[in-house]
C-alpha cells in the first residue's frame, strides 16, 4: 500500500517536472536566435510531451496513452525533423541569426506576462476537478499554446513561424493528454498525421517561396495590403 502511494506521488512529481521543462522550452523558443536551435528545442519539447503521456499512462494504467506517447515520439521527434531537413535543409543549417521584431529581453518579459495570463485563464476551469495532473497540464499546455502564437507574431522567418505553429499544437496536446485521455485512437492518429501534413505543406511552401523570391523572410512580404 505504501509503495503504490509512493509510486503515485513520484509519478505526479515526474509529470510536474516534465511540465516545468515543457514551459521552459516554450520560453526558449521565444528567445532563441538560431533556426537550428529552434528545431532542436521543438524536438525536446515533443519528447517532454511524450514523457508526460507516459507518466500519465502509468498513473491511470492506460495503454492508450503509451500509444499516444509512441506516436508523438515517432512523428514529432523523428519524422518531422527529417522531413524538414529534406525540404528546407539549407535554410535550417545555414548558421545565421534570425531577426525578431522585439529584442529578446522585452520579448521574454511579454512571454512571462502571457504565461501568467494562461494560468489566470485556466484557474477557474480547474475548480471542478480534483486531479493534480490536470492542474499542471492544462495551464502549461495553454501557456505553450499562447507562447507559440506569440513566437509566430514576433518572427519574420518562415521556419521559426512553422515551428511556432507546431509548438502551438504541442501545447494543445500537452493539455490534451491530461484532460482528454480517452479520445478515440483514430482521432489521435489522424491528429498526429495532420501535424505531419502541416510540416510537409509549410516546408514545401517555404521552398517555393525561397525559389521564387530568394528569401524566406516572410515578414518582409507586404505586396498585398489595403492602401
Amino acid at each position: 500500500m505504501f509503495d503504490t502511494t509512493m509510486i503515485t506521488t513520484s509519478l505526479v512529481k515526474l509529470n510536474a517536472l516534465a511540465g516545468g521543462l515543457f514551459l521552459l522550452t516554450a520560453f526558449a523558443l521565444v528567445a532563441t536566435r538560431q533556426v537550428l536551435a529552434c528545431l532542436r528545442i521543438y524536438i525536446g519539447q515533443s519528447v517532454l510531451l511524450a514523457f508526460s503521456a507516459v507518466f500519465l499512462g502509468a498513473l491511470h494504467g492506460s495503454v492508450h496513452l503509451f500509444l499516444v506517447a509512441g506516436i508523438t515520439l515517432a512523428i514529432k521527434s523523428i519524422l518531422i525533423p527529417r522531413l524538414l531537413r529534406r525540404t528546407v535543409g539549407q535554410d535550417i543549417y545555414a548558421r545565421r541569426e534570425i531577426s525578431q521584431i522585439l529584442n529578446v529581453p522585452a520579448s521574454l518579459l511579454i512571454a512571462v506576462a502571457i504565461a501568467f495570463a494562461a494560468y489566470a485563464a485556466a484557474t477557474p476551469l480547474l475548480a471542478v476537478s480534483a486531479d493534480p495532473n490536470e492542474s499542471i497540464n492544462l495551464p502549461i499546455g495553454m501557456a505553450g499554446l499562447f507562447l507559440g502564437a506569440y513566437t509566430i507574431c514576433v518572427r519574420r522567418e518562415a521556419i521559426p513561424q512553422l515551428i511556432g505553429i507546431l509548438a502551438m499544437e504541442n501545447g494543445a496536446f500537452f493539455a490534451g493528454v491530461s484532460i482528454a485521455p480517452g479520445l478515440p485512437l483514430i482521432a489521435e492518429l489522424a491528429a498526429a498525421f495532420d501535424v505531419l501534413i502541416i510540416a510537409l505543406v509549410m516546408g514545401l511552401l517555404t521552398r517555393k517561396i525561397q525559389e521564387a523570391m530568394g528569401t524566406t523572410a516572410v515578414g518582409e512580404m507586404t505586396s498585398l495590403r489595403e492602401e
Binding site: P124, L125, I152, I165, G182, L183, L205, M213, V218, S223
Partner: protein, 480 residues
C-alpha cells in the same frame, strides 16, 4: 452507405490523378467524380427530410438535415467549379507555360473530400481534423499561379488558419473534458448537446471562446480576417468560388453546431457574442469593400460581410432568424460562385485586376458585363435574388424578437455594402469602353455560370418543397 461513397469517390479520383502515367483526362475524371458526389448528395438530402438522420458509421459518420444542406451546397458549387476549371485552367495554360494541370485537379478533388467530410463527420475531434485539412489541401491551390503575390497570400493563409486551428483544438479537447466528466456517450455533436446541460458552465464557456476564435480565424471574423482577401483574390477563380462560397461556410457550420449546446445551461449568453462578432465583421467589411481596388478583393470582403450577417442571424436566436441564416448560407454560397466565376472570365478577357481601369465591359464583352452585374446584384441582395429574401427574413425576425439596435445596425451595414458593391461593379460594367484583349470565353465557363445563376434566381422567387423542408429542418436543429 452513400455517405461513405461521397467521401471515397473524390478520394479515388485524386489517387487516380496522382498515379503516374497520363492516359486519362484529368478534367473528365474530376467532372465525373463531382457529378457522382452531386447526385449522391441530392439523394442524401432527400432522405434526411424523411429520416431524421442517416448513420453510416455510428459515432463517427452521420448526416442530419443541417449537415445535408451544407453537403448539398458544397456538392453544387464543387460541380460548377469543376466545369468552370475545365475551360479556365486550359485557357491560362495557353498563355503561361509550366501550368501543372494534373496536380491541380488532384488537389481539387482532395480539397473537395476535406470539405465534404466536415458535415459528414459527427465525431467532433474528426471534424477538427477535416477543417484543418481544408486549409492544408487548398494551400497549393491558392499558390497555384506561383507569383510572389500568390505565394505571400498562401503563406499568410496557412499560418493564420493553422494558428486558429491549434486554438480550436484546445477548445475541442476542453469540450471532451467537460463531457467525459458527466456522460459516457460518444463524443459527437448529438452526444454533446445531450450532455451540455450537465457540463460545467465555465468549461463550456472557455471551450466555446477557444473554438469561436480558432475557427473564426478561418471563417474570416474581423480581427482575424487579414489573410482572407489575400488568399481569396490570388487563387485561380474556380478555387476562389470554393474558398469563398463554401469553405468559409463549412467552418461556420462547425461553429453553428455549438449553438444548441447553450440551451438550458447557466453558461454565458453565447448568442450575444455571436451578434457582437457578427456585427463587427459586417461593419468593418462593408467599409473595406468600398475602398477595394481589385474586384476579386472586393468580393472577398463581401464574404467577410456575409459571414458576419449569418453569425448575427444565428445569434438573434429565434426560428425565423435561423431560417434566414440557412437561406443566407445557400444564397451566399451560390451567388459568390457567380461573382468569382464572372470575375474569372473578366480577368481572362481584360487581364486586369484593377477596378479603376476597367470600363464599359457591357460593350466590349457583354457576357462578362452581364454576369458580373448579375453576381453583384445577387450578392448585394437586390430583390429577385435569394439573398434578398434571406436578409429580409433576418430583419423580420430581429424586429420580432425586439432587438432593434442589432437589426438597425445590421441594416445600415448591409445598405453600405449594397451601395459599395453596386457602385464598383457599375463602374466596371458601364461607361466608355476601354480597349480589351480579344479572347473567347470557354463554353464550359458559361455552362458553369448558368448552373449557379439559375438556382440563385429560382430561390429568390420560389423555394421548391424539398428545399424548403431541408431549410426548415436545418433551422429547427439549431433551436432547442
Amino acid at each position: 452507405m452513400e455517405l461513405l461513397y461521397i467521401l471515397c469517390i473524390p478520394l479515388l479520383a485524386a489517387l487516380g490523378l496522382l498515379w503516374p502515367g497520363r492516359r486519362i483526362s484529368a478534367q473528365g475524371i474530376t467532372l465525373i467524380s463531382s457529378l457522382c458526389v452531386l447526385i449522391l448528395s441530392i439523394e442524401t438530402a432527400l432522405r434526411t427530410i424523411s429520416a431524421k438522420e442517416i448513420i453510416a458509421v455510428p459515432g463517427f459518420i452521420s448526416c442530419d438535415s443541417f449537415g445535408a444542406l451544407i453537403l448539398l451546397l458544397v456538392a453544387v458549387v464543387g460541380f460548377a467549379a469543376a466545369i468552370f476549371s475545365w475551360g479556365y485552367i486550359d485557357k491560362i495554360g495557353e498563355t503561361r507555360k509550366g501550368i501543372m494541370v494534373r496536380p491541380y485537379y488532384a488537389l481539387f478533388n482532395l480539397f473537395m473530400v476535406s470539405m465534404l467530410a466536415v458535415p459528414l463527420f459527427s465525431q467532433v475531434a474528426l471534424v477538427w481534423i477535416a477543417v484543418e485539412l481544408t486549409t492544408l489541401l487548398s494551400v497549393f491551390l491558392v499558390s497555384f499561379a506561383s507569383t510572389p503575390e500568390a505565394l505571400e497570400a498562401a503563406w499568410k493563409y496557412v499560418v493564420l488558419t493553422c494558428m486558429g486551428a491549434a486554438i480550436a483544438l484546445l477548445g475541442i479537447l476542453m469540450l471532451y473534458w467537460g463531457m467525459s466528466a458527466v456522460s459516457q456517450g460518444p463524443f459527437t455533436w448529438e452526444g454533446l448537446t445531450m450532455a451540455s446541460s450537465k457540463m460545467s458552465p465555465s468549461i463550456l464557456n472557455t471551450a466555446f471562446f477557444f473554438i469561436l476564435i480558432g475557427f473564426g480565424a478561418k471563417v474570416g471574423l474581423v480581427p482575424l480576417h487579414t489573410w482572407l482577401p489575400d488568399a481569396h483574390s490570388q487563387a485561380p477563380s474556380p478555387i476562389c468560388a470554393l474558398l469563398s462560397g463554401v469553405e468559409t461556410t463549412v467552418v461556420l457550420y462547425a461553429i453553428m453546431r455549438l449553438f444548441p449546446l447553450f440551451h438550458g445551461t447557466s453558461a454565458a449568453n453565447m448568442g450575444m457574442w455571436l451578434v457582437i462578432f457578427g456585427l463587427l465583421s459586417t461593419g468593418v467589411a462593408a467599409f473595406l469593400l468600398i475602398q477595394a481596388k481589385d474586384y476579386k478583393r472586393m468580393f472577398a470582403f463581401s464574404t467577410v460581410e456575409h459571414m458576419g450577417i449569418i453569425l448575427v442571424a444565428v445569434g438573434i436566436g429565434s426560428y425565423g432568424a435561423h431560417f434566414g441564416a440557412m437561406l443566407q448560407i445557400v444564397g451566399h454560397g451560390l451567388a459568390k460562385a457567380i461573382c468569382f466565376f464572372a470575375a474569372g472570365i473578366t480577368l481572362l478577357t481584360t487581364d486586369n485586376r484593377d477596378i479603376g481601369s476597367i470600363r464599359g465591359l457591357i460593350r466590349t464583352s457583354p457576357v462578362c458585363g452581364f454576369f458580373l452585374m448579375v453576381g453583384a446584384l445577387g450578392i448585394a441582395g437586390a430583390p429577385p435574388f435569394a439573398v434578398f429574401l434571406s436578409e429580409l427574413s433576418i430583419f423580420k425576425a430581429g424586429l420580432a424578437s425586439g432587438q432593434y439596435l442589432v437589426t438597425g445596425l445590421l441594416a445600415v451595414f448591409i445598405v453600405i455594402a449594397f451601395v459599395g458593391v453596386l457602385f464598383q461593379v457599375n463602374h466596371m460594367v458601364f461607361g466608355k469602353p476601354a480597349p480589351t484583349l480579344k479572347t473567347t470565353i470557354p463554353g464550359t465557363c458559361m455552362a458553369a455560370l448558368v448552373i449557379v445563376v439559375l438556382p440563385v434566381i429560382l430561390l429568390g422567387v420560389y423555394i421548391p418543397g424539398p428545399v424548403y423542408d431541408l431549410l426548415r429542418l436545418a433551422a429547427y436543429s439549431l433551436g432547442r
